[in-house]
């Protein structure tokens, strides 16, 4: 049976390889001068005073796709929360507090605020320098878990109220949609960047609604990752099955 599967894989792989080679033969040269999409994206981004074209594409020209990406993350974390919840035949065993070397604990307590401020910096400057809501949100969420690495899980639970993060996750998604609806109410298209003034180039207030959408996505990603990790750590550290004797 295994041999048949290998043959099937080989056949499929050969077909895919042939198609890929055929497609690559008439690709435009690597690093050529002609970029029709790039030129238009950069032109639209500069017209709306957004220094980072990727942020302009993400949150202005294709903001609707980012709404899709955000709801994918929201649904994924929701799925994890449902799957990893504590079942009936499981009980929570409080783990013994772990002893961690003093310098490691001091580093965790020191790096915790620095990582949070760096995450917020990456979110806030999404439309100026590389970064944005997604990257900064993940950094801010990872910063919180330095407490789990530097001390133990009970310390993390004291600092991170899970209910607040679940609510802020939902609020952030709604904020993104409401920002989109605002432009519909004003008579233009959904998520169109025509309401707010574009501000002066390369400053924090430039780009119209791009920084606001960036902040909403940043908040959503940060709380979604915290909720996701909370359920993973619960399962790995606290929840244990009843021992059927």
């Amino acid at each position: 049976m295994n041999r048949l599967r290998l043959w099937l894989l080989a056949l499929g792989g050969a077909g895919l390889a042939a198609l890929l080679v055929a497609a690559c033969l008439d690709l435009p040269g690597f690093g050529g001068r002609r970029h029709p999409y790039g030129d238009r994206a950069v032109h639209a981004s500069l017209a709306r005073h957004t220094a980072n074209t990727i942020a302009s594409v993400n949150f202005d020209q294709r903001a609707y796709d980012t709404l899709g990406e955000m709801s994918i993350l929201f649904a994924a974390v929701l799925g994890c929360a449902v799957l990893l919840r504590q079942a009936r035949d499981e009980h929570r065993a409080r783990p013994r507090p772990a002893e961690v070397a003093r310098p490691v604990r001091r580093y965790a307590l020191l790096a915790l605020p620095v990582a949070l401020v760096t995450g917020l910096y990456v979110i806030a400057h999404g439309q100026l320098s590389p970064g944005g809501g997604f990257q900064g949100g993940v950094v801010a969420a990872t910063a919180l878990h330095l407490l789990y690495l530097g001390a133990d899980y009970s310390a993390l639970e004291r600092v991170r109220p899970l209910g607040v993060h679940e609510i802020s996750d939902a609020v952030a998604v709604c904020a993104y949609v409401v920002l989109g609806l605002a432009s519909v109410l004003a008579g233009t298209a959904f998520l169109a960047n025509t309401l707010l003034p574009y501000g002066t180039f390369n400053t924090l207030s430039s780009g119209g609604s791009v920084p606001l959408l960036n902040a909403a996505v940043g908040m959503e990603v940060a709380s979604a990752v915290v909720v996701l990790l909370a359920h993973f750590i619960d399962q790995a550290v606290e929840i244990e099955e009843e021992h059927r004797s």
């Binding site: 507090p97 604990r105 307590l109 915790l112 605020p113 620095v114 949070l116 401020v117 760096t118 917020l120 910096y121 806030a124 400057h125 100026l128 320098s129 910063a143 919180l144 407490l147 530097g150 001390a151 310390a155 993390l156 004291r158 600092v159 390369n202 400053t203 924090l204 207030s205």
Partner: protein
Amino acid sequence: MTRRTAPRAVLLAVGELLAWWVALALLWLVLISTVDTLERIVGASCAALGALLARMGRRAVTWR
């Protein structure tokens, strides 16, 4: 006048928060490229958030 709201404890708490706030505000100023009023406002609020989290983290670890 419980132990936590004794003037000395409040002073210590405010001192710690202020120290963290100043350090994180400086870090923000170092990170950004152009400095203007809006950057300072956003930086000050992010530094305040960081200082709050730093204090909560320290108390969560030392509280046994």
